[in-house]
Amino acid sequence: MAGHAVEHDYHLIPPSPWPFLSGIAALVWGVGMVVFFAGLVPRTGESPMLEFFFSKGLDSLQDSYRAAGDKVGADGGWIILVVGTLFAAYVMYGWWKDVAAESKAGDHTPVVDIGLRYGMIMFIMQEAMFFVGWFWMFFELGLFHKMRAAWNPDVLENADEYATSMAPGIKGVDPWNLPLMNTVILLLSGTTVTWAHHALIHGDRRGAKWGLGLTVLLGILFTFVQGYEYLELFHERTEGHPWISTDAFGSAFFMATGFHGLHVLIGTIFLAIMYLRLVKGGLRPEKHFGLEAAAWYWHFVDVVWLFLFAFVYIIFAVGM
């Protein structure tokens, strides 16, 4: 670049296509979400554009809305969603590849490195507030169910039962079974990732690989156990096990654990990328912020799980 010589250590980045493409990917993905989950059907025939793009034709939805209050999913919504997801994945791949290359090229000077740390801390704070929302919802349901039962017996189905339990007729998930196992898995993975980190610092790349590899495996294992638990609940949902749509407890249970699961998945991918970089010879003992960030994130996911385990599983089982 022209102009004066640069005399500072900050990292100025040349123009990059990824942000702009991310915006487009987000648009495709978002439209896909709506079309997939909600359907997208013009109510009247006034818009030929919409008619052209969306498959359901022009029958007026008025009556079906009135009758069912339900939405009609459009065929083919999943295609948009998949395209959006692949697009987003491609953009992320390209973006992170650039970052890794810059890191290798030495653009991440000490001051830039500190900036990255600030950035990661802020990002984790943001994630924590996201979970505050879900826990708040859960606690509200758990603490005030008696009041709601008293408020309006006509509207609340099983109002009497709600007066004694936040989720009438629902046997909570037994915390000392799969959830306990998952707790152990996550706690263990917290130690393996620390092992990997220390090993890397001490130049023991073999140990680092083992630690990180194990962490990734434990992360995958967690996801499997969680998925298995969901499946089991799905099969037994009629027999007094919670399910997402049975009542508000089921909703809170599945959305909170589900979003946690999503974060486990993200964390696992994050760690897996670090593993690949490690195997390919990246990540130096003195400079490996990527790994540290992944570890921070992983610990955060761990802590959220402990809260879930304590409140959503144990306390509910004991009775809330």
Binding site: R148, W151, N152, V155, L156
Partner: protein, 292 residues
């Protein structure tokens, strides 16, 4: 020199503050006040019909005086500063940027002012919210888009739906359009009445300004409030929580009658003279005006 400026500025500001009180006293707070409903071009609270609304008016007046004073004070000060310290009048700016005393003052004084507001405001809040022993209980259920009233203590009074009157109907009835309904809630005068408010679908808000009442109707929750009206008459309000397209078209009409008339109304199963015709008439209007 300095202190003279300060004094002058304060005087200007205070004069403006006092002037605003005078204006408020003559214009604002003495606006024409209708009975039980909004007035044409009105710019003041509706006339109080209940003790809560009376207290509310007092607190409103107090706060209005205070905030009008603050606004006038700031305006006066600004006017003074803008004139006195314009570039022409004061070519060489001073360099002061600290004065601990004044900074403490302008932190403490607002605190004191806020205390003056908070005390009566809290009293009002608790008076309004703590429901006293009531003699009559009515229930208002919000529905898209009308109110359904019932008298839980009187099983032989059927619950009834209160629909808005359309333009011609209200003109015929000699009632204000968008306030008038085909079936008012009937309550006795000088009696403490408890209102239970809830909804069966979207949220609504049961509101009668001259009672000082606004209570949200939320599905799954029964809210309670109370009122005691001083004078017989008809009082109007409008739904005050967005509830869909006819949000503007689900008014509230409360007819406050003498205790005897109320007793008769109850005895007749929700009709003043026992004529079934009145009820039929209501039902007829209901179907005609039902906005669904």
């Amino acid at each position: 020199m300095r202190s003279k400026n300060t004094i002058l500025a304060l005087v200007v500001a205070l004069v403006l503050a006092v002037a605003s009180y005078v204006i408020l006293a003559f214009v604002g707070l003495s606006g024409e006040r209708g009975e039980g409903m909004a007035v044409r071009g009105g710019f003041y609270l509706q006339e109080a019909a209940t003790p809560v609304m009376e207290d509310l008016t007092t607190v409103y007046n107090l706060v209005t005086y205070i905030i009008a004073g603050i606004v006038a004070f700031v305006l006066g000060l600004m006017a003074y500063i803008m004139i006195r310290y314009r570039e022409k009048a004061n070519p060489v700016p001073s360099k002061t940027s600290h004065n601990t005393l004044i900074e403490v003052v302008w932190t403490i004084v607002p605190v004191l002012i806020l205390l003056v507001i908070a005390v009566p405001s809290m009293q009002l809040l608790y008076f309004q919210d703590r429901i006293p022993e009531t003699e009559v209980t009515v229930k208002a259920v919000g529905n898209t888009w009308n109110w359904e009233y019932s008298y839980p203590d009187h099983e032989d009074v059927d619950s009834f739906v209160s629909n808005p009157l359309d333009k011609t109907q209200s003109t015929d009835a000699g009632k204000p359009y968008l306030f008038a309904t085909d079936a008012a809630l009937v309550v006795p005068v000088n009696t403490k009445v408890k209102v239970l408010v809830t909804s069966v679908n979207n949220m609504h808000s049961w509101t009668v300004p001259s009672f000082g009442i606004k209570m949200d109707a939320v599905p799954g929750i029964i809210n309670e409030t109370w009122f005691e009206v001083y004078e017989e008459g008809t009082y109007y309000g409008q739904c005050s929580e967005i509830c869909g397209i006819k949000h503007y078209y689900m008014p509230i009409e409360v007819e406050v009658v003498s205790k005897e008339a109320y007793a008769a109304w109850i005895a007749n199963g929700g009709s003043f003279d026992g004529s079934v015709a009145e009820n039929n008439n209501m039902t007829g209007v209901q179907t005609a005006a039902a906005p669904k």
